[in-house]
Each structure stands twice: as structure tokens, then as C-alpha cells.
């Protein structure tokens, strides 16, 4: 089996974009292709992440449409949909395709618009997001996605004593990181008091515990050794990718605080990379809500089970902490254009591993981990990247 590397990365600012999806995606795709030194004729396949275009923009069959817009018509194009884990799944399949030698160079992308620029306001978009919960046994209760993570986090608070203040500290940390990221949707700091004073969305989460609705695009160029040898981009090694699922609806999950799919995906990725949690230098993870970051750092083995809240409040996951988590600002501050989020995590890690992350650079980072979940953690993909040797 051949090795895989990321040889080029690009992304748009996350925020509000009043552009058609093909135009928005082109901005990220050309940046990634230029970074890789990849002209259109060396891209062998295009794997796209877009979760909701059919619902939000009446736009489907998007992979060949976007490929056509950026000069890639003719090659195999596939769209992946796994709720919020959408473009990580596209990335996983690209890595496997180049490892197998099926393709040498694959463009992976993600694009989504979720802000009112789509013409959809909060109730409509909340309903579209809720379509990732069970159609018969969850959606008709009025459950929302803040509510899904509200259920998981409320249980964690009951079992482990996690507090609203612990959760607020995570929002404060990610907002602070976001001030150092020019592409982040939120560029200003917040305080524990401001978080706790903001209105409840779904208990225990207040407005400032929640990621925003976002528009944006991201792209990475993945290659095997043969492909990379034709390109000029500074490569970062893909050391492992794990992918696991769990039972839906969430009431049937064995343990509501485990996010078991993240534990299973992390085990696979650590084993492939031949490392453990203590070897990771920088983490980008799926903090759609502050409580999701607590569950994720425990599932990834970065802290002991039950310690996610206190460890975060102690600053262990801060940019200058023991294990920096979400230096980009995370979904919370950077933004969360659903289908673009997974590939954007890879963009952030590549910049740290290249030493190009600017003010938010994690010093001497040589191993990075991305954790991207979909739905109620019914899907999680964990990817480990390393400085090329």
C-alpha cells in the first residue's frame, strides 16, 4: 500500500457569502490547486462534501457541476453526505483511493451555505439541520441539533459534574483563538459572563455555546508518492484515518456520553499511525456546541473520562496549554459551513505542520489530529497528519 499526503490546501473565509455554490467553491479549490502546483490536467478525481444543497438551495448532482466550473469535467466526481462529517468522509475516500493506486491525485472539497443568504431564516434552517436526526422517532418530538447535544451534555453533567461554567470556558477559549484567524466568522473575544448571560437555545446551551450558521468552502489536494512527485506543494503525511458509526436513534446508543464512534475511529487512526493520544501536538475537533468539545477530548483520550470540563477550565486545551485544541477557533468561532468543515480542519492542521499558522501557530507541531462527527455522533472520522519525513 502506498502512502498518502496532502500537498495543497485552500479555504474561503467562513461567514456570509452571497455567491452561488460553484463560485464559492472555486475560490477554495483554486487556492488548494495552486498551493499544490496542480493544474487541472493532473487531477484524477474529485470527491466533494456537501450535506444539504438539495434542501437549502435546490441544488443536487453537485460534484460534476462544481468540477465543470473549475475545469475538471470528465474525471470521476463523487459527492459524499454524512451530515457534519461530510467532507471528512470525502477525504477518507481520497486517501484510500491514492493509497490503493486507483488515483494518484485527488481534489477533495467541501462547500455549504447555511446563513440567511440562502433565503432561509433560523426556523427553516433549524428544521433542515434536524433532518439528520431520526425521521420517525426523533424529528417529530421537535428535537433540534442543539437539543441532541443538549441531551448528551446534560447526561454528562449529571454523571460527571460538568458545569455550565466549564462549557462557557470552552467558548471563551475558542473565541480567543478565533481572533488570531483572519478566516474566522467571529473575530472577537467573549467572557464566561457573556456566555452565561446569552439566551438559551437548547439547555444547557446558550447562544454563545453554539456554533453559528455559516457559508464557506474548503479544499485539499491528496496524492500518493507518484502523484506528489509531479507536484510542487509542501507535502504533509496522512498517517491514519479512522471511520466508525454508532446506532441511530440516539436513545439506542449504549452510552450517551461516550460518543462511541469517535472512540472507535480514534482507535483505528492511532493504530494506523502507530501513536497514541500523548503523541498528538495539535487537535482540530468538532465543537458544534461547547459540550461536544468535552465529549470529544474524552473520546480521543486527551483527558480522562469525566475530566473534559475541568481540564478545559484549567486551560489544558488552550493555545499555550498541554494539548492545544481548535487553534482555528473551532466550529464555535471559525464557523461551520457543514460540508466544508471536515476539509477545513485538514487545512488548519496542514498549516500548523508546515509552520505557516502565523499568530496561532502551535510551536514545533509535528503531529495533528482532526475529529469530525456527523449527526448525533452516528458518524465520526478521525484523521492523523504528520510532518513529512
Amino acid at each position: 500500500m502506498e502512502g498518502a499526503s496532502v500537498v495543497g490546501v485552500g479555504m474561503t473565509d467562513f461567514g456570509v457569502h452571497d455567491q452561488p455554490l460553484p463560485e464559492l467553491f472555486a475560490d477554495a479549490a483554486f487556492e488548494a490547486m495552486d498551493d499544490a502546483g496542480a493544474d487541472a490536467d493532473v487531477i484524477d478525481a474529485f470527491y466533494l462534501g456537501n450535506a444539504m444543497g438539495g434542501q437549502t438551495e435546490s441544488d443536487t448532482h453537485l460534484a460534476p457541476t462544481l468540477a465543470s466550473h473549475i475545469g475538471l469535467a470528465g474525471i470521476p466526481c463523487s459527492r459524499f453526505e454524512d451530515a457534519c462529517a461530510t467532507s471528512s468522509n470525502a477525504f477518507k475516500h481520497a486517501v484510500e483511493a491514492v493509497r490503493a493506486g486507483t488515483h494518484d491525485v485527488v481534489l477533495v472539497g467541501g462547500v455549504e451555505r447555511c446563513t440567511p443568504s440562502t433565503g432561509l431564516e433560523t426556523p427553516e434552517m433549524t428544521a433542515i439541520f434536524a433532518s439528520a436526526s431520526h425521521r420517525q422517532y426523533e424529528q417529530p418530538t421537535g428535537l433540534t441539533f442543539p437539543g441532541v447535544f443538549g441531551l448528551l451534555t446534560t447526561r454528562h453533567m449529571h454523571e460527571h459534574g460538568t458545569t455550565e461554567e466549564h462549557l462557557a470556558e470552552i467558548a471563551v477559549k475558542n473565541h480567543a483563538n478565533g481572533t488570531l484567524n483572519s478566516r474566522a466568522q467571529f473575530g472577537k473575544e467573549t467572557t464566561v459572563e457573556a456566555v452565561l448571560d446569552s439566551p438559551v437555545v437548547a439547555s444547557p446551551f446558550r447562544l454563545l455555546d453554539c456554533c453559528p450558521f455559516s457559508d464557506g468552502a474548503s479544499a485539499v489536494v491528496v496524492a500518493n508518492a507518484a502523484g506528489a512527485s509531479t507536484l510542487t506543494g509542501d507535502p504533509v503525511t496522512v498517517a491514519g484515518v479512522g471511520h466508525a458509526t454508532d446506532v441511530i436513534p440516539l436513545a439506542e446508543k449504549a452510552d450517551l456520553t461516550a460518543t462511541q464512534s469517535a472512540r472507535d475511529a480514534a482507535s483505528q487512526a492511532y493504530e494506523q499511525a502507530g501513536i497514541g493520544p500523548a503523541d498528538v501536538d495539535v487537535v482540530e475537533l468538532h465543537d458544534c456546541f461547547t459540550g461536544a468539545e468535552v465529549l470529544a477530548i474524552e473520546a480521543l483520550g486527551l483527558v480522562e473520562d469525566g475530566e473534559g470540563g475541568p481540564a478545559s477550565a484549567r486551560g489544558e486545551t488552550a493555545l499555550d496549554g498541554r494539548i492545544p485544541v481548535n487553534p482555528s477557533g473551532g466550529l464555535k468561532a471559525k464557523g461551520h459551513p457543514i460540508g466544508a468543515t471536515g476539509a477545513a480542519q485538514i487545512v488548519e492542521l496542514v498549516e500548523h505542520l508546515r509552520g505557516e499558522a502565523g499568530e496561532r501557530q502551535v510551536e514545533d507541531a509535528s503531529t495533528g489530529l482532526a475529529h469530525n462527527l456527523g449527526g448525533d455522533a452516528g458518524t465520526t472520522i478521525v484523521s492523523i497528519l504528520e510532518v513529512a519525513r
Binding site: 426556523p123 424529528q139 421537535g142 442543539p146 438559551v200 437555545v201 437548547a202
Partner: protein, 121 residues
């Protein structure tokens, strides 16, 4: 068990409207689920016995929704109810009243917005 005997969404809904909560017990591993599946989520076995579940349970977790989707009016609670069966059946439901984690609640009603779901209080 033949396909005709398998618990369906339609049959589960009809029973719920009559105040009964139907579930399934796996013939292989004894896992109990509170919403219909075609095979056991724990072991994959297709031999599932349809059973009557308790209509009383314990609040396992709950959230209060203050920003709702279209078709719903915010300011309601959704909970996961542990039905205290051997095999660990839980169901997601509307929760009325002030019950919190660990409190006992009863199936008292159904909510019908596009589909029928249980209401506990």
C-alpha cells in the same frame, strides 16, 4: 420470524395511539429496543420478538428547546426515557412538567406533528 410479523412503524404508531408502547427483544442477545428495527442493533440478528414495554420509566436525560424548527413552538422539553427493562430499552419523547434526571414519569399522551411520538409526564 417472517417479514409480516416484524414490528413496523405503522403498527408501533397504532399501538402508541392506544396507549401502548411496543418494542422488540432480540432472540439472540436479549437487547430490547423501543422503536422498530428490522434487525437487532447490537448483534444483527433478525429474530426479534415484539413485546409490550412498560409505560413508566426514569428520565435518563432531557433538554429544553428554546429555538425550534418550523412546525414547533419553542419552549418545550425533549427527553430520553429509560424504560427499566432487562436489555436496556430507552425511548425519545416529549416531556411535560418539571421532572429531571432520575425522576419517574408515565406515558400520558401522544404528540402528532407529521408522526406520532410519546409524551411522558
Amino acid at each position: 420470524m417472517t417479514v409480516d410479523e416484524r414490528l413496523t412503524h405503522a403498527r408501533w404508531t397504532e399501538a402508541l395511539r392506544d396507549g401502548r408502547l411496543l418494542g422488540q427483544r432480540c432472540s439472540e442477545c436479549d437487547t430490547v429496543t423501543a422503536t422498530p428495527e428490522a434487525a437487532c442493533p447490537a448483534c444483527g440478528a433478525r429474530g426479534l420478538e415484539t413485546i409490550d414495554l412498560p409505560t413508566s420509566g426514569i428520565v435518563h436525560t432531557a433538554t429544553t428547546i428554546e429555538v425550534s424548527p418550523t412546525e414547533f413552538d419553542a419552549g418545550y422539553r425533549v427527553a430520553v426515557i429509560d424504560l427499566e427493562t432487562d436489555g436496556g430499552a430507552r425511548v425519545t419523547a416529549r416531556l411535560e412538567g418539571e421532572a429531571s434526571i432520575g425522576d419517574r414519569v408515565e406515558l400520558t399522551d401522544v404528540l402528532e406533528v407529521r408522526e406520532t411520538v410519546p409524551v411522558f409526564s
